[in-house]
Structure formats: structure tokens, C-alpha cells
Subunit: 164 residues, 2 copies
DNA sequence: TCCACTAGTCAAAGTTAGTGACTATCAAGA
DNA sequence: TCTTGATAGTCACTAACTTTGACTAGTGGA
């Protein structure tokens, strides 16, 4: 670590990448593995951005605005993604009996199958890491990751409110 | 955790987000904070994508292909980013004395100032998390994060080679 | 009842990433 | 020394993705 601190900046960043770099690399590589594996398992048309819908979809249906909130993606984008996924046969729009403005986005059988598979792929990825690191170390890492992420988001939200 | 396992899928994902979700949230929120802070500190035109160049740039200059390799971004995109950053006054292209095909991307004074600031902002973000989690816990988290990310990338690369 | 807010959609514009191809240059092997 | 496959960077274009503005129908609290 001290050796890295005295080298060129790019070397220092390779030896001790910051949070942003680590998060970017992890996200990119996890997404690549997930969508390549899904393609092998019969879902070749899905893209990472579809995850904003499929990643949070409940079997009983989920409102588009809820998907937008959960994923952090704009509602118009969610609408576009739902259009695509409808075309691809993963979801259907159904009226929401509790609010006549709203639609429930309901998975088709194909959509349900996909969610089961993607959850299984993610679980296998995490299990692989847990085995490599040790279950307990991995569990601690995940807990810290959740904490860091939650605090990062809270800090961002807190800042914006302070500026109001 | 067991309570979460029996709820709706979206609730389970909120209670125990997977690696992909955590990485996406952390990346997005760290980038938001970094670029908003940079804007406050006199660099309002920079975007997260510029980080593929500025995030790895050495004071003595760096080749475009090296930046592409370090950042994982296509060389043509790197070329476009360099064009933009040249226009914005952050970098210059200089011939590389060691290879007449190549160019060195060299930071201007403004570019150097930005790299110093962004490194400081990232360090402050990480210090804040270390204080919240405890220095030792944070250090362990970072080490695990580096390991998980390295192994994820190695697995992806290993897969591709196995398929060759 | 009224009105501010919300859900979802349409339309358009803006931003960013990926692919194909090319010329000059390099370096290793014959 | 010469040849050739590989590389660095750029040009040109296409594809993919995100953001902004606006609107109508519906909701719920005052």
C-alpha cells in the first residue's frame, strides 16, 4: 500500500482503486455474466437496462411507478422498457383494481421463468464469491456493502434537503 | 434475513439486494456526489463518462490506448472523450517520443487541478465511510471488495478463454 | 366541491456507446 | 534486411439509451 502511494497516479489507482472504480468494475462484470448466462438459458434478447423492470417485478404485478422508484430509473424510461418487454413476451399491462389511473405490470409465464433464472444466476455468482472468500467473510462484506450504500444514498439525500 | 426470504420478491430485493443492485446504487450515488462536488469547485462541465480519461490520467501523460485499457472503455469512445476534454481545456495531445503512431494525453494545469480535487473528494467520501463503519471494518470491506471484483473479472476472462 | 398532486403515455431532443474501416508505425521472425 | 502481422489513433456512421416537456384521467384531502 505504501509502495503504491509513491507511484504514478494510474499505478496507485490500480493498486488501490477507489469506491467508484470498484463499483463500476463489479457492476459491469456482474451484468455481463448475468446477461450472457441468461442468453445461454434461452433469453438472448434481454439487456442490462431491462433489469430495472425485471429485477424488481413481483409475480402478482408491480406498478410502473413502483418499478421506477425501486430502480431509480425515470418513469418514462420504465414505460419504454415495459413496451419492449411486452413485445418480447415477458410482461403484460393489466388495470390496477385499486386505482383506475394505474397499471399493474404482470409477468407472463416467460417473464416468471426469467425472474427465477436470473435470481438463481445471481445467487450462484454470490455463492461462488462466498466460497472463495469464506462464507463468514463474504457475509460481513455484504453487510458492510449494504451499510456503505445506504449511507451513501442517505448522505446524497440529506445534502439535497439541506440545500432546500 | 429469514423474514425477508418469505416476502414478495421486491421486498426480498430491498431487504437483501444482490451484488448487481448494490454495485449500481453505490456507483450512481458516488458518481453523483463526486460530479456535483466538482461542479461546486469550479468544474461544472464534467460528466461521469469523462472519468474514463481523467480518472486514470498521469501528470506525465498517458496514451489513449492505456486509458482505454485501464478504464474498460472502447478506444473510439476514449478518443471522443479526449476531444471533449481538449475543448474544455483539461488535456492536450502531444506526440509520444517513443512511438510515432502514438499520442500522449497530457493534463493542462486545469486538468491537473481537477485530478487533485477529484482524488481529494473521493478520499473524503471514503474517509466518511471509514468513520461511520470503523476504520478497520472499512479496510476489511475494501480488501474484500477488491478481491470480489478481481475474481469476478478473472472469472469472466477465464470463461471467455475457455470458450476459445 | 375544488384543487393540488399523481399515473401513465406521447413526442421530441439530447447524450452516450458500439462497429467498420483506414493509414501510419512498430517489432518480431525469416 | 525485408516482410508481415499487429497496433495506435482517427474518421464515419449507426445503435442504444436518457432526459425533457406536456397532457389527460384519476385520486384524495381540505
Amino acid at each position: 500500500m505504501e509502495r503504491g502511494a509513491v507511484g504514478r497516479r494510474s499505478q496507485r489507482k490500480q493498486d488501490d482503486p477507489d469506491l467508484g472504480i470498484l463499483a463500476a468494475r463489479l457492476l459491469f462484470s456482474v451484468q455481463k455474466e448475468l446477461f450472457e448466462t441468461l442468453a445461454e438459458q434461452g433469453h438472448p434478447d434481454l439487456r442490462p437496462r431491462h433489469g430495472a423492470v425485471l429485477g424488481y417485478l413481483d409475480a402478482e404485478g408491480t406498478r410502473a411507478t413502483e418499478l421506477s422508484r425501486l430502480s431509480g430509473v425515470h418513469k418514462q424510461v420504465i414505460g419504454n422498457l415495459i413496451d419492449e418487454l411486452e413485445e418480447l413476451g415477458y410482461v403484460e399491462r393489466r388495470p390496477d383494481p385499486q386505482d383506475r389511473r394505474a397499471k399493474l405490470i404482470v409477468p407472463t409465464d416467460r417473464g416468471l421463468e426469467e425472474t427465477v433464472k436470473s435470481d438463481a444466476i445471481m445467487a450462484a455468482i454470490e455463492q461462488r464469491h462466498a466460497e472463495a472468500l469464506g462464507e463468514r467473510t463474504y457475509a460481513r462484506f455484504k453487510r458492510a456493502f449494504r451499510n456503505v450504500t445506504a449511507q451513501q444514498l442517505a448522505h446524497l439525500t440529506g445534502e439535497e434537503q439541506a440545500g432546500t
